[in-house]
Amino acid sequence: MLRTLATAITLGSFGGMTVFANENLYTSNAPLQPAAVATPTPAPTTAPATVTTTRTTVRGSVTSTNTTALTRTKQS
């Protein structure tokens, strides 16, 4: 009888705790809870009114010139 009682208490707590834990997967005070699931990414408070796309084209070559180069040296 005592063995049955001990088994019932232990397995009852196991079963009860399994059901409870399954229903309360991510409690607020659970330190081991997965952060990604427990704290959903907050939505931005203000959405940007317009989205501007700027495209910059970088020229692949350097233009040449026939003008003589001027070199200014420091006057002593």
């Binding site: 009888m1 005592l2 063995r3 009682l5 001990a6 088994t7 208490i9 232990t10 397995l11 707590s13 196991f14 079963g15 705790m17 399994t18 409870f20 834990a21 399954n22 309360n24 997967l25 409690t27 005070n29 659970a30 330190p31 081991l32 809870q33 997965p34 990604a36 699931v37």
Partner: protein, 188 residues
């Protein structure tokens, strides 16, 4: 999040709680062998049988708790942490107490299996480590348990501690009474 992660998380909590319950019952029945606390339920031989039988319950539950935490990638507990306590980055003290409790219970189990090779004094000394193991397991549960906000779970945990404390105090009182009686008998 995958289902596996959730299953592991649920198992870690349920096996941990149930292991503490089974360990509590094991300690209670062990102490009751000397005090007759459960005499109203069963004779001493029956209590002894239950005390031995409870290992069938708390060993797999404790192992399940440890294995679940080994696979829990949020707990980040490795095999080394089962040998060296207080090495886990998260909940260092709480996890370390759990490791110490598990290690002490292994010592108690080994001493029980090797009882024939030990003297009564040696076996008793090893077996008394189960009190320390229970205290460490309880502290581990209180410090790292995530469900203590629930009144039922909190009541279960504190009832376990209260039960063991009361029965242990009773045993101390009984042992002291026996010692006093023996001293009087010696004097007279």
């Amino acid at each position: 999040m995958t289902l596996d992660t959730e299953v592991i998380w649920v198992l870690a909590r349920s096996t941990g709680t149930a292991a503490l319950v089974a360990l509590t019952l094991s300690i209670l029945t062990g102490i009751a062998l000397r005090t007759g606390t459960f005499a109203w339920l069963s004779h001493n031989r029956g209590v002894r049988v239950v005390h031995g039988f409870l290992t069938v319950l708390w060993i797999p539950l404790s192992l399940g708790h440890v294995i679940a935490l080994l696979f829990d990638r949020y707990a980040q507990i490795g095999l080394v942490d089962l040998v060296i306590p207080f090495g886990v980055s998260y909940g260092r003290a709480a996890s370390g107490l759990g490791t110490i409790s598990a290690q002490l219970m292994v010592v108690v189990l080994l001493s029980t299996w090797l009882r024939a090779r030990l003297t009564t004094g040696q076996w008793r000394a090893f077996h008394r480590l189960s009190y320390v193991a229970f205290a460490a397991a309880f502290a581990h549960g209180i410090m790292s348990g995530t469900d203590l906000a629930n009144p039922a779970v909190a009541a279960l945990a504190w009832a376990a501690a209260l039960g063991v404390t009361l029965v242990a105090v009773r045993r101390l009182v009984v042992a002291r009474g026996v010692a006093v009686s023996a001293a009087r008998a010696t004097r007279s």
